[in-house]
Each structure stands twice: as C-alpha cells, then as structure tokens.
C-alpha cells in the first residue's frame, strides 16, 4: 500500500524539493526500496552497502524509533506517519 514519508530537508532536493513523498511497501525496508528506486540519489544517504540503515539516519513510524521495533522489517500501515530525520551531533 502507499504510505507517506516525511523527508528531512537534506533529502528533499533528491525528490524535486518535495517535503513528503509516497512509497509502496508493507515494511520500512520495502518502503525504502521503493523510495530509492524512485529517487536513486537518496540510497547512499539512507542505507549502508549491506542494505542496513545508515547510523546517522533515524526513522520513526508514528512515535516509535524503528531501532526499537523491528528495524527495516518494521511493518507499516497506510495510516502510519513515517518520518526520516538525520542524526544531529557534534562536539
């Protein structure tokens, strides 16, 4: 099913400047596979070479961080709010 994903500012140029985009999938992993096939420029910023989630990317399904759920296998429904946020850190 189609799910809306809210993009962080840094990824919006890859999606023609859009703030939210729709992707198909039943899990976060499937959504990202569809997202990166729609916008190939995003792949390297979201996923490592082995397909795992990049450590400087946080993904929320509603109010839950997927790292505390089933990572990329976390199931999603059409009504879920998916947000991608960059890790913000420094010294």
């Amino acid at each position: 099913m189609a799910v809306e994903i809210r993009l962080p500012t840094i990824l919006r140029p890859h999606a023609g400047g859009e703030t939210t985009v729709a992707a198909e999938g039943a899990t976060v992993g499937e959504l990202f596979a569809d997202l990166t096939s729609q916008f190939p420029g995003m792949k390297g910023q979201l996923l490592n070479a082995d397909g795992s989630l990049h450590r400087f990317v946080n993904v929320y399904v509603n109010d839950e961080d997927i790292r505390y759920l089933e990572q990329l296998d976390t199931k999603v429904a059409g009504t879920d709010q998916i947000s991608i946020l960059p890790a913000v850190a420094g010294g």
Binding site: T9, I10, Y60, D65, L85, A87, A89, G90, G91
Partner: protein
Amino acid sequence: MLEVPQRLVTEMFAHAIAGLPDEACGLVAGPVGGTRLDVFYPCGNTAASSTLYNVDAGDHLRADRDADERGMEIVGVVHSHTHTEAYPSATDVEQAPDPSWHYLLVSLREPTPSLRSYRIAEGQITETAVSVTD
C-alpha cells in the same frame, strides 16, 4: 545576517546553563529559507558529555512536527561549549548534518554566555552575523 529574538537568546542561554556540566543542545525553527528564528526547542543531549552532544531523536521528532504545524521548518541546531569559545569544533564540522542549516554556538567560557552563528557546508565554516531583535 540571522535575526534572533531576545527571548530566544535567553532561552538558549538558560538551557545551556541548566545542562552543565554537559553540553546542551536544541533545534531552532523559522520560516522556510528565512533569515529569522522564531522558535527554540530545547532537546536532550544523549551523549551526556561535557565535550560531545547528540540531539535526542524523539525530541527532534517532536520539534519537527511542531514546526511543521506552525508552518515553519527546523532551520538549525544550537549547542553549547562549556569551556571553549563559540566556534565550531572539528567534530562539529565533520558531523554537520545539513548544509542548509544554521549552526549556533553558545559559549559558557566567560561569566556572561555568548552566542555566535555559522554556516557549515562542504567542510567550510562561514560566520553569520547575529542580530538580536525585540
């Protein structure tokens, strides 16, 4: 030039002092692509360190949603340096997540806190003049 309301400066200084002995951090929102800040979101520092900061991701999510509801965007991050000047460190430059953001620094080195702001893009630091408004 970055316009920052006085009340936001006070909020940022208060959050920095309350965070001692650790670095404190927060996010700022304003109109999209603008040169003005309207909201400061104090966030947790999950690094809990006097030399490192990591914005609590749950706080970031709440700030992002609140800014969106107000028709604004998160346009930058503020963090404190507990003993050094208000200038980005090498770590700040390496880990800057978004070249379009403002990077504000509060220094607690002197008895009176100071605030400066920068752009960090492609490893380059450029200072932005801060204009404190009413």
